[in-house]
């Protein structure tokens, strides 16, 4: 089958294509899961634990069940609760307020147990146990090494050792987790805000012990996920069960507090790194000891040593459990943590060596793409002419960071292309658009292959009854979906070609297709797309095809630079400018790709400067479980962004969701260190940390 044409030869792929569902979104007509309503539908709420750790002795729902308007109750969802916000019971009632009132009538007898929410404390043998009955709160050490790290440090002329601490970021999609469950006989129809309709179906089938062919999941429009919505989650099953009990549709939407407490987050990370180098900047050794916590979940490890070449290294990591909501994958899991620490210590090393941080990276980064990207980025930010300027109490600084990501397509992705007798076309694929514009690239690739107008194609996605596609995460969507759609469209086109050949009484290879016209070699007459499709009357073409090699690839490299202004009177950091240089193979839609990078970068700014899930050591409560106190960046915090795509279209389609979410924290932290002359080793870089660091440095000098 054919590969991609070069971008200049394509009409929709590699171009700025506005989203096909744009009109629905801007007019408020787009129906998200939150917007699904049915007659007689009930509203469900989940009762959540006020304790960070407790045994649930009993759950008495008698009074809740007696409340007028309450239609279904699920008591005692688990025997032990392990964080504030853990699920205890659930009800469905005629309104959300009625359901909330019912929750207040449920009497739960808890046996409150000791808990721990601070990682350093949880690791101690004497610490309270996060899970009753488990011997310890830590996972096993995961160790890896290469070369001889002792020898590497012996060869080093400069050795730096630092400890870094990364905060917990919460995904905070704007549409909170939620679903609507509706039973028809023994079939379950569920509208869910999920990143994976197929995964949700199969997981739910297992959980509810029913066949997959009786579950139908719909995600037509979705208000973001960022990795937190790989379903099914427990609320899906709770909602389905309540709907079965009540025998009417039930809607269960989490509120913002629940979203912040119990739907996932990016794990914390504590990394003690030692690196060694020769005086000329050649890295000789790397050693990492790290731990981190995904709350009651795991996955706090980091890829190390990150991106730079060390001949000798050793790393060891272990997960620590604490009584907090479980982590979930979040935009490039593990990589931002790794990159922040590595880029921070690289700058410390550069300072110790008296070397330009850029030169140190050029010397030790063996990725040929990034080698070129560094040069482009440096020029864009004005690296060589940069100088630490100071106006009054505002000081500017510059920094850089880098990252990598895999991505790549899922082989078993399938798409179906239907061509109808009236000439119209639809493409069915069980992917979902978490916001990025998947529907648009499905239409664009089909239109490109069939040489039709975008408006001729109806992309149908977001239903588990459509052919299998992976969950939208890990930057796999575009490289999975586009090859399958292209190949299915090509197969359907060839099918139509063969029908034309048959009708015209010629051999298949005598028919060619271009620009909506079928022509027959040696004959003068042409057959239009419309005319050809009319041959299908009484039938249609339905071609299913899988993903295939050669159209997509994996592996990306990127770098970002930041210019900051620090107010040394108040400690406030303002981003002045950020530059990103990023490769992602063939950019399918330049308009949406640019947004992906911008969006990732503002996420980085939040992570670096504002966002932090706090936990109170005394009570285990998250004191900032609302948007008033868990601050995400607004429009006015935006610096000037300069995004360059490093063109490698010949590599085919590679995903872009994760890569640009990695290098920014290091770049920002390095820029702050450059400005104030002191390094902040703990994110987020809040005004108090900056001001206290400046004060401390002053005392040190005095």
């Amino acid at each position: 089958m054919a590969g991609w044409k070069s971008p200049e030869q394509m009409t929709y792929v590699g171009k700025e294509v506005t989203r096909v569902d744009g009109a629905e979104k801007v007019s408020g007509r787009a129906k998200y899961t939150h917007d699904v309503y049915f007659p007689r539908m009930l509203y469900a709420r989940i009762l959540r634990s006020p304790h960070p750790h407790a045994q649930v002795i009993s759950v008495d729902t008698t009074r809740a069940e007696a409340l007028t308007g309450v239609k279904a109750v699920l008591g005692k969802l688990r025997d032990e609760v392990n964080y504030v916000g853990d699920e205890v019971a659930a009800v469905a009632a005629v309104t959300e307020f009625k359901a909330a009132e019912a929750l207040s009538l449920i009497k739960v007898e808890y046996k409150v147990l000791p808990f721990v929410v601070r990682e350093s404390e949880a690791m101690r043998d004497s610490a309270a146990r996060v899970f009753s009955g488990r011997e310890k709160n830590v996972g096993d050490w995961e160790e890896e090494h290469e070369g001889d790290v002792e020898r590497g440090f012996a060869e080093a002329e400069v050795i730096i050792e630092r400890t870094f601490h990364m905060n917990v970021q919460v995904h905070t999609p704007f549409e909170t987790h939620g679903c609507v469950a509706k039973w028809e006989g023994d079939e379950l129809y569920m509208w869910d805000s999920t990143q994976g309709v197929h995964g949700t179906r199969s997981g739910l089938a297992q959980h509810l012990q029913m066949p997959e062919n009786k579950i139908h999941i719909y995600t037509h429009h979705m208000g973001g996920g960022f990795g937190s919505k790989f379903g099914p989650k427990s609320y899906n099953a709770v909602c389905a069960q309540l709907a079965r009990i009540a025998n009417v549709p039930v809607k269960l939407l989490l509120d913002r507090e629940e979203e912040l407490l119990a739907t996932g987050n990016r794990p914390s990370s504590f990394q003690t790194i030692k690196i060694g180098a020769r005086k000329d900047g050649t890295l000789t050794a790397f050693q990492l000891e790290s731990y981190g916590s995904g709350g009651v979940g795991g996955g706090a490890g980091v890829p190390a040593p990150y991106i730079y070449y060390f001949p000798n290294w050793s790393v060891r990591h272990r997960d620590v459990y604490i009584n907090a909501g479980a982590a979930a994958p979040m935009r490039a899991p593990g990589h931002p943590q790794a990159a922040f620490a590595m880029d921070s210590i690289m700058d410390e090393l550069a300072a110790a060596l008296g070397m330009d941080p850029l030169d140190l990276r050029l010397k030790n980064d063996r990725n040929s793409t990034r080698q070129q990207e560094y040069v482009i980025g440096a020029e864009k930010i004005g690296w060589t002419n940069r100088h630490k300027s100071r106006v009054g109490h505002k000081v500017r600084g510059f920094g850089m960071g880098a990252g990598q990501w895999g991505g790549g397509g899922e082989r078993s992705t399938k798409a179906m292309v239907n061509i109808y007798a009236d000439g119209s076309v639809d493409v069915r694929i069980g992917t979902q658009d978490i916001g990025v514009g998947t529907r648009t690239i499905v239409a664009a690739v089909a239109a490109e292959e069939l040489e039709l107008d975008l408006a001729d194609i109806k992309p149908k996605i977001g239903e588990s009854d459509f052919p299998w596609a992976p969950a939208s995460g890990g930057s796999v969507t575009a490289p999975s979906v586009t090859p399958a759609v292209k190949r299915a469209a090509e197969k359907a086109k060839n099918k139509l070609k063969s029908i034309v050949a048959e009708k015209m009484g010629v051999a298949e290879d005598a028919v060619s297709y271009a620009g909506k016209i079928f022509s027959i070699s040696g004959r003068a007459e042409n057959i239009s797309w419309q005319e050809a499709c009319r041959f299908l009357e009484g039938s249609s073409i339905s071609e299913l095809e899988t993903w295939g090699e050669g159209l997509s690839s994996w592996g990306t490299a990127g770098t970002q630079f930041a210019e900051v202004e620090v107010d040394i009177e108040t400690g406030r950091v303002r981003l002045v400018k950020m530059v990103a240089v990023q490769d992602c193979g063939l950019v399918v839609n330049t308009l949406t790709a640019r947004n992906q990078v911008n969006g990732a970068m503002i996420g980085e700014i939040g992570y670096a400067l504002y966002e932090n899930r706090l936990l109170d050591v005394e009570t285990g409560i998250m004191p900032n479980a609302d948007l008033e106190n868990y601050k995400i960046p607004g429009a006015l915090e935006m610096p000037d962004f300069d995004v360059t795509f490093f063109d490698q279209h010949e590599r085919g389609v590679i995903g872009l969701g994760e890569p640009p979410a990695i290098p920014g924290m290091g770049a920002i932290a390095n820029a702050v260190a450059d400005a104030i002359g002191v390094r902040i080793t703990e994110l987020p870089i809040t005004p108090d940390k900056v001001l206290m660091a400046i004060e401390k440095a002053k005392e040190g000098k005095a």
Binding site: T18, G392, R594, I602, N629, A635, E637, L691
Partner: protein, 444 residues
């Protein structure tokens, strides 16, 4: 019931979204239009915090109520890919429409400021800013005579908007009844965050605004307690008194919140970090309270007793706030530090009023928030500085005195140590802002 629930669950107008239910994201933004003279003035508000009673007699416009065909805002948002997941988009478009309806002169930069109450988690805002700039460039030459007519012509709002003044005049404007009720509501922007469930079924009494939000009598400036923060910003009288008023007020919350939150509500809330409390403490304001039996007047600095406890009897309400109209010689400054510059609660904030005379500080009032359980009037510091000369040494001494007056605690907004240090910096910042020449050596 709040407007958001009415729109979504009863009217099934689902374009208005619920993002946080605490006025911090703007996904639920709607336009509220009320009669002002002979026209309808439109503002953006958060429907999640608006009780239905406050919508009575008003023109409420949701995203579905804007022109859908060929709306230039829609076009720009699509063309620039300003709608990614799209959940925040209707609120953004409503906020921009409110700006177009109310701004005297359309400027892209101001239009972006008008989105200070809207959060987007996907786009990084650049595409939104491009869309806003495109809309402003497209529309500003077209908006000259009658704003409503022009925006109808530009396909932003539908034809029927022209008939709204007549329609609103024809309905009887609701009158608050005087029966005992469960809760008094002014703006409701904090009450409906704190007590949403209780208020859902409570009997509410809505405080009414006076004819004028701001007035002057015998050299004393009065603010209606029910005046919104936006009313203050729009008051020409206050603008003249405080040339930096717009800038100061833009640091308080966000546009949709300022459109509903009231002066009195801000004081009664008694947040130790309330921006308005801090501003009014430095103005040495007085409160005029009315109760069942009698009226009384107290100093604002006597109003805050301890954390969230105020000098107000159960039956009393704040009617108005007054302060001596500052004459031309009076200097005033406000400083606030928060993580985010906008729509964020301060870590520490401070205001200072100073009247110089013959090279001395004749009168001075300093306030500070976030450093005590109550919005703090720095009495000893103010007394110390009275009759002193502005000199770096004196200011440093004042900082020390201020530090003895405060008792900050560590919380989500910063450590006690940081707040202590920051207050010192802010006190210096006041003097640096007001006396850059005298304080030169401190700056360097």
């Amino acid at each position: 019931m709040v407007l958001l629930d009415y729109l979504r669950t009863i009217r099934r107008l689902t374009g208005t979204k619920e993002g946080c239910r605490e006025g911090d994201c703007g996904a639920c933004a709607v336009l509220i239009g009320e009669l002002k003279n002979d026209a309808v003035a439109y503002k953006v508000v958060n429907s999640c915090l608006l009780p239905m009673g406050l919508a009575a007699g008003k023109h409420i416009v949701t995203i579905e109520g804007l022109t859908a065909d060929a709306n230039p805002i829609h076009r720009a948002f699509i063309d620039e890919h300003a709608s990614q997941c799209g959940f925040c988009t209707p609120g953004m478009i409503i906020a921009l429409t409110a700006y177009l309806l109310s701004a005297v002169k359309i400027k892209a930069e101001e239009a972006i400021d008008a989105l200070d109450g809207n959060i987007c988690r996907c786009t990084g805002y650049l595409s939104i800013k491009r869309a806003v700039a495109a809309v402003c460039a497209d529309l500003s030459p077209k908006l000259d005579s009658n704003r409503i007519d022009d925006l109808v012509k530009a396909a932003v709002i539908p034809e029927y908007f022209k008939t709204m003044p007549k329609q609103l005049r024809s309905i009887r404007q609701p009158r608050g009844d005087q029966h005992p009720t469960d809760a008094l509501i002014a703006g409701g922007t904090d009450l409906f965050v704190q007590q949403a469930e209780t208020l859902e079924t409570a009997e509410l009494y809505f405080l009414e605004k006076m004819q004028h939000p701001v007035w002057e009598e015998d050299g004393v400036c009065f603010l209606d307690a029910a005046a919104t923060i936006a009313d203050l910003k729009e008051s020409e009288f206050l603008q003249e008194l405080f040339p930096r008023l717009g800038e100061m007020i833009s640091l308080i919350s966000s546009t949709p919140i300022r459109n509903k939150a009231t002066v009195g509500g801000n004081l009664v809330n008694a947040s130790p970090i309330g921006d308005l409390s801090i501003l009014l403490l430095a103005l040495d304001a007085s409160l005029h309270l009315s109760g069942h039996v009698q009226e009384r007047c107290i100093k604002l600095r006597e109003f805050f007793v301890e954390y969230k406890k105020i000098n107000l009897a159960a039956h009393e309400i704040i009617k108005s706030i007054s302060f001596k109209t500052p004459d031309e010689s009076v200097l005033f400054n406000f400083e606030k530090v928060s993580k985010r510059r906008h729509l964020d609660i301060a870590g520490v904030n401070s205001a200072l009023l100073l009247r110089p005379e013959d090279g001395l500080i004749k009168e001075i009032h300093i306030s500070a928030g976030g450093v005590a359980p109550i919005p703090l009037y720095l009495a000893q510091t103010s007394v110390f500085l009275t009759d002193k000369k502005v000199e770096p040494n004196t200011v440093m001494k004042a900082v020390q005195i201020a530090e003895s007056e405060i008792s900050p605690i560590s919380d989500v907004r910063g450590s006690a140590e940081y707040k202590r240090a920051l207050l010192g910096r802010l006190l210096q910042a006041h003097f640096i802002a007001l006396f850059p020449d005298l304080m030169r050596e401190v700056i360097v």
